[in-house]
């Protein structure tokens, strides 16, 4: 049975046992005077807001930019986005908790998403995921996650390392993958998706891979 992660109070929801302070007002749009926002982040968010008829549409791009700046959607990061966009932190927190790529707890800087969905697991993704996790050990630099289908079943089993797709991988590739990240090299260069040709072309030319 897959163990459910529970907090000390027995629930899966953090803060379940903390009573709501009813005397407190709900969080408002943060005051620009008391919320310092890095200039680069502000510029990115404002540029994103300008691209849509409704500034609210920039919520996801803005949160992703803030996450790139802070490493995760921390309360501080959310406050900064809320301040620039003129939204409440609560509204943005609701969005941050909905989407898989927005992190609501502190995580490592390097995202390693290993696809463990059907097509990849038919070709050994679960073993690959374990191997990647073992290779990284408890290095806090890495955020290793078993991810839902990443849309690259042609290179199954595969992984996305900070957005770079690599595959097809063997469990034996895991140490090299981790090593490449640690040393700042391109990750498993020979196995990167962008180097591949369409299966249709390869088949038409009668090659076997």
């Amino acid at each position: 049975m897959t163990a459910v992660k529970r907090f000390a109070h027995g629930s899966r929801i953090p803060g379940w046992d903390e009573a709501v302070d009813l005397s407190k007002d709900p969080a408002r749009v943060p005051d620009p005077a008391t919320t310092p926002v890095p200039a680069g982040l502000r510029a990115t968010i404002e540029a994103a807001m300008g691209r849509y008829p409704d500034r609210r549409s920039a919520a996801i791009p803005a949160l992703r930019a803030a996450q790139a700046e802070h490493g995760w959607c921390s309360p501080e990061a959310i406050d900064q986005v809320a301040c620039v966009m003129g939204l409440t932190p609560g509204y943005l927190a609701a969005i941050a908790t909905f989407y898989d790529m927005l992190e609501t707890t502190p995580v490592g800087r390097t995202d390693v998403y290993v696809c463990t969905n059907i097509s990849c697991s038919l070709r050994g993704a679960d073993a690959l995921f374990d191997a990647v996790r073992n290779a990284a050990g408890d290095d806090p630099e890495f955020n290793i996650r078993a991810f839902e289908c990443l849309g690259a079943c042609d290179i199954a089993p595969m992984a996305s390392v900070n957005g770079v797709y690599v595959g097809p991988l063997e469990p034996e590739d895991a140490p090299q993958l981790i090593d490449d990240v640690r040393n700042g090299r391109p990750v498993l260069e020979a196995k990167q998706l962008t180097r591949r040709r369409a299966a249709d072309t390869v088949q038409a030319e009668g090659e076997d891979r």
């Binding site: 049975m1 897959t2 691209r51 849509y52 008829p53 409704d54 609210r56 549409s57 920039a58 919520a59 996801i60 791009p61 949160l63 992703r64 609701a94 969005i95 909905f98 989407y99 898989d100 790529m101 927005l102 998403y113 463990t116 969905n117 059907i118 097509s119 697991s121 038919l122 070709r123 991810f147 839902e148 289908c149 990443l150 849309g151 690259a152 079943c153 042609d154 290179i155 199954a156 996305s160 957005g163 770079v164 797709y165 962008t194 040709r197 369409a198 299966a199 249709d200 072309t201 390869v202 088949q203 076997d208 891979r209």
Partner: protein, 429 residues
């Protein structure tokens, strides 16, 4: 016959120069010289059916948009997250201008003046390619104010999501694009009347829009001669799982499925047989090896009790346990259920729990009936089809592989030390 994948691997095709050298943007010039109605006529004549999953006629959908001066939108659905689907990724990555051209023509036909490409967040590297292509097209005057000197203007924005399968559902996608949680909306009103920012909106899949330039180039009637009567044209098929050559292949609709699975993709690896296959992504009910001789088109797949969906074939080999596939599948839909509708939120969760119980050896054959019943209660009872997308394949697995499920239950019970279940007298059931 190659349309979408013509010259696909030529170096530099992602750039506007090489694309134009191969006749790129000629269709746009041709379309913009026509009237809006004439373009719609061509699209209708082509019989092009949406390549995203539902298979609705593209021309018809575009003609649903009201006339008038209000802001109208075109949204390209590039949130390809269906397990087994990766055709849009390759189409955008290798030939982004084909999509941009299709969007401009589609927007012209629908009278839309703002367009968005909603691309899933995981495809960041593809989104970068699209951004470059959009900038090049703007530079060349194919996007922006008064395109090629006509009355038509269009702005195009590439919008990156942040990882949620549900955003592939058109109304959830609109909510996400408006900066909200991606929850599906009640239909009607349909997006053609009230979509993005409450304005009339045409939503099409990447492959559908990428086909549009070819329809304009060939002419609608000529395009309709490709494929079968009800499923016209070519289709990029993503094939994955237990086959020798997984990947994207462009085929003419209506060729036997065996030709794709065993011919192009090379069939199952040495020593393995095909146990079952998903003809249209993980959301389609599974089919058996004997169905491989059916023509691969919308009608034949529907008649066989499944669907063509997004055209993503997943082949499952006979060494794989069907319970494992079912559990992977159910786990995925549980994770991706947005939680808005109860049957889907609870149904996916309980299906996972029941499958885990089967695996642990705590289930009885009666659980299979309950599980099949849960699937029946999800179908048609939610705002969108995410729950159905689990219920349909799971129901089909229980139907086709009941014996294997039962054997698995017995074996797991023996292994867990619980032994044979107590026989309940039929009168009690």
């Amino acid at each position: 016959m190659k349309l979408l994948f013509d010259h696909v691997d030529e170096p530099g095709l992602a750039g506007i120069d090489v694309y134009q050298r191969h006749g790129g943007y000629a269709s746009l010039r041709k379309a913009i010289a026509m009237t809006r109605e004439e373009v719609l006529e061509q699209l209708n004549a082509s019989g092009l059916r949406g390549r995203g999953g539902a298979g609705f006629q593209m021309g018809k959908k575009a003609s649903f948009l009201p006339h008038g001066d209000m802001d109208k939108y075109l949204v390209c659905n590039a949130d390809e997250s269906e397990p087994g689907a990766f055709k849009d990724r390759e189409l955008m990555q290798k030939n982004p201008h084909q999509l941009v051209e299709g969007i401009v023509i589609g927007a012209f036909a629908a009278g839309a003046n703002r367009a968005f490409i909603f691309i899933r967040g995981e495809y960041d590297f593809v989104a970068d390619i699209l951004d470059t292509a959009v900038a090049e097209a703007e530079q060349a005057g194919f996007l922006g104010e008064r395109i090629l000197g006509s009355e038509h203007s269009l702005s195009l924005v590439v919008h990156r999501g942040a990882g949620a399968y549900i955003c592939g559902e058109e109304t959830a996608l609109l909510d996400a694009l408006e900066g909200k949680r991606g929850n599906p909306r009640l239909k009607p009103p349909f997006p053609a009347n009230q979509g993005l920012y409450q304005g009339p909106t045409l939503i099409n899949n990447v492959e559908t829009l990428a086909t549009v330039p070819h329809i304009i180039r060939l002419g609608g009637e000529e395009y309709a001669k490709i494929g079968t009567e009800g499923s016209t044209g070519t289709k990029v098929v993503s094939i994955s799982g237990n086959v020798r050559r997984p990947g994207n292949y462009e085929i003419e609709l209506g060729i036997p499925a065996r030709e794709i699975v065993c011919g192009l993709a090379g069939g199952p690896p040495e020593g393995e047989e095909i146990k079952c296959w998903f003809p249209g992504g993980s959301s389609s009910p599974v089919l058996l090896p004997e169905h491989l001789d059916l023509p691969y088109d919308f009608e034949s797949m529907a008649e066989a009790g499944s669907m063509l969906g997004s055209g993503s074939i997943i082949v499952v080999g006979d060494s794989v346990k069907i319970v494992d596939v079912a559990l992977k599948l159910a786990n995925f839909y549980r994770h991706e259920s947005c939680g808005k509708c109860t049957p889907c939120r609870e149904g996916t969760n309980w299906t996972v729990k029941m499958l885990e119980r089967i695996d642990r050896g705590e289930a009885t054959p009666m659980d299979l009936e309950i599980m099949a019943g849960v699937q029946q209660q999800i179908i048609g009872n939610c705002l969108c089809v995410l729950g159905d997308s689990m219920a349909m394949p799971l129901g089909s697995m229980i139907k086709h592989f009941r014996a294997e499920f039962e054997a698995h239950i017995d074996a797991a019970r023996a292994a867990s030390g619980l032994g044979a279940p107590v026989q309940v007298p039929e009168a009690v059931i």
